[in-house]
Point group: D2
Chain length 263, copies 4
């Protein structure tokens, strides 16, 4: 009733789908594929992976340099050195790059060098970070907090948009439920609901949701079926030796097969 | 580790997919469509709906006569009179019929006249009912309890199988989570997991899961994408006047369009 | 809005607290303690436990004969033979007895010999069972389904009451959440909410909720603090050899200490 | 198995309970009461409330100046001006003051002027904030994220402790579940579990958990029963006109009555 709480993200605010252009690629208005390793480990690793996913027809390269791990005693990412490696991969392949930010401290660096900035699920309601990202004009991938309602997710997008940045891409990555047979419950019902409420692009991260590479292809196809604007998929050249989340990473060969299937 | 707890339903017990034949139709080994109204209201209503869904190419007709409603003060179904109407619809169309049982009291009737017996989510752990159904040879659709784990769901199937009836079809219909933007969260990740663990057919009920007809087509396609063996969809000739769950029922025209899309 | 959906259980229907008399004991209007083993195993076991809990001042003896276990391959209870043993314990101690029913098949037996009939959480929405219990005048302990809302729980009580039996006692036993550090999340907030909405007695089962005997005393005291009308506690003379749920059972000595503390 | 993941917060790391001294008050080793308004609104409001709660025997004064609201279009707090008003209330009453931080930007200010710094549930996994707080020596109240497991909560405490600050107080404030009869489900079972695993003080916020002032007294007593080291309670001189969360605030008179009951 009364006023629509989603002043900028709602269909009332803007009827047509938002399409965000990044170079000659775009998010929204098609089915985009973002792929790459959970964590950047070495220049060789990220460049090799970038070349492989490019050969399979990927649109964007992802690689994590700042890893918000639940324990301080686990690998935290290579930080700025990792971002430098990601930039090398961009130069080598021409792919636009996506990486997660965890603090405003390095915002200048991200703003200058990273094509799409990702906000992880743990920071979906870190409003100070969202407001700072709202002052840039960078495309922002806003992941849904694992216990956040669709309503709250859109309101977090409003924080970025209200601060001046309309380039928000929503990313569903699984919600926390009682089920323990997999990591999180991918909320595919949420996709058509968001598409009805909002003009923003919505993508899906099946890798983090299920936590197991063998179910990623099925969930990717389902994401496309429900109308998502793309997926973000973890790919690692050697999953069994990954420093982070190897069990959910596809090999380049598995990724290539999936790309053939969804095209 | 140790012994597989799913003695009869697991892939270890039987490698190949179970295919359950009902007349010239089957569940398992293809993508079957079950459709019909949530509740049988009149003979005219069920016969008209049956003819409509048959014209669209449905495989099985569903209709509820015993409705386990959360309040005793709401419509509880036409009970045996409803089953009689469903039988008329079967005679008129030749479609095999599916209906929900809520008590062993009418088991003889169901065993004689109903082609597939459904156990609703509220009775998934009503083990006395499951054991009684295990003594028949009827195909049993076992819906997942809205707060039951995949593990518990398979163990409920074991109750039926251990009592002698191997003809069990699992049906995912949404789990209870914190999200309130729709009714229940459809657990599509669970489908490939079940298919890996078990040889039993698994179908999906998108109508009860989301509670809103407009999202049923997207979820039906997603169910097919993740490898489900079919769907159960609510169709009503006049949803706005349905006695039960009208808002989640497709019209025959909407259903027809969906059938064209998924074939 | 509009009409109160809880026609018989609400405070609108009856202002004052319901107090259910069983012999010289009562449920409601005080803090009652029900205790005993999860499962009856032998006559010696139940009689010995009964004497122990009586010596500590318990009000009612519980013992399970029909055990709705999630797997058909685990101990299912001694059934009628178990109830006979429970009756011996009643004769030996004078304690009124509580036991769980899982099917209408043995209702006559329960109605004749058992003082308080328990409906387990898995059967909270087994409406056929509730309706049958509504035709008796026995006190019924209705456990909350682990994924059922307070609203649904009261409506299940309405099924019993609407069928003619006003003697319903509600029992909170933990709800299913994402937390895995214990078995279920005991919903103590629900107690004052229920007491506000309804005139029915409400008790708490801390043993099944947390699944670990060491936390039972703290939760028992908390249940009393929030205004519960009693608790149901598992006590076993030899928890490490219990056939069912030993890890959550207090020894008689631990139970005795708890009884001293809460009095 | 293997190494304890809670290197600094566990009972293995330190056997005896941690007691954090703040002036002549302490957190841990007793039952402390923190009270005050959700949001600081005017100097008059916070001073008046401070005097009232002091008269009732409170240990610490709380007042929010930075409010992480889910929508950017709602009242966000008075920020630094609010903290200045809180300092006046401290001068007037001598009560140590507690306030929430949402960004490292104002850390110097908090470090100089605020006695206990609170991290809200939305920032429980904002690790950059936690690491910065770890570099101070201020007592930190770390609220549990509403969808975070006990395991994750302790690991967030480790972020602060590993960075050098051992003065962490855990605060349970309700977890997100399917129940909608109240705001969040207060996890009182978690209290004795935390006390067993960790030497850190644990307090409870019943106001935010249930979202309704009438249930706060019962939950406060229950928190004490399960062994919590204190509570944080919202008190407002005029709840019906509060800018934020008025419905969960006690009046000074209600608070006074509660203080008498728990002492």
């Amino acid at each position: 009733m009364s006023e629509n709480p989603y002043k900028r993200s709602s269909r009332e605010a803007k009827k047509e789908d938002t399409i965000i252009k990044i170079g000659d690629k775009s998010l929204g208005g098609g089915f985009a594929v973002i792929a790459g390793p959970c964590a950047i480990e070495t220049e060789e690793q990220i460049v090799e992976t970038a070349k492989a996913v490019k050969a399979s027809g990927v649109d964007f390269l992802r690689g994590g340099a700042f890893k918000p791990r639940k324990s301080p005693y686990t690998f935290q990412g290579l930080e700025l050195a990792g971002l430098e490696m990601l930039k090398v991969a961009k130069v080598e392949t021409g792919l636009p790059i996506v990486s997660e930010i965890t603090s405003t401290k390095f915002l200048d660096y991200f703003e200058r060098d990273i094509d799409i900035i990702q906000v992880g699920e743990k920071n979906m309601q870190n409003f100070e970070l969202l407001k700072a990202l709202g002052e840039t004009r960078k495309p922002i991938i806003l992941k849904r907090g694992k216990a956040c309602k669709i309503d709250e997710w859109l309101l977090s997008a409003e924080y970025i948009m209200d601060a001046g940045n309309e380039n928000v891409i929503l990313c569903e990555r699984g919600i926390r439920t009682f089920e323990t047979a997999y990591r999180n419950t991918l909320d595919l019902t949420g996709i058509p609901i968001i598409k009805k409420l909002s003009h923003l692009p919505v993508i899906v991260d099946p890798s983090h949701a299920c936590g197991s590479s063998e179910f990623v292809p099925a969930l990717t196809k389902a994401a496309k079926s429900v109308g998502a604007d793309g997926v973000m998929i973890e790919v690692h050249c050697n999953p069994s030796e990954a420093l982070c989340d190897g069990e959910q990473s596809l090999t380049p060969a598995e990724f290539d097969e999936l790309m053939r299937e969804i095209k």
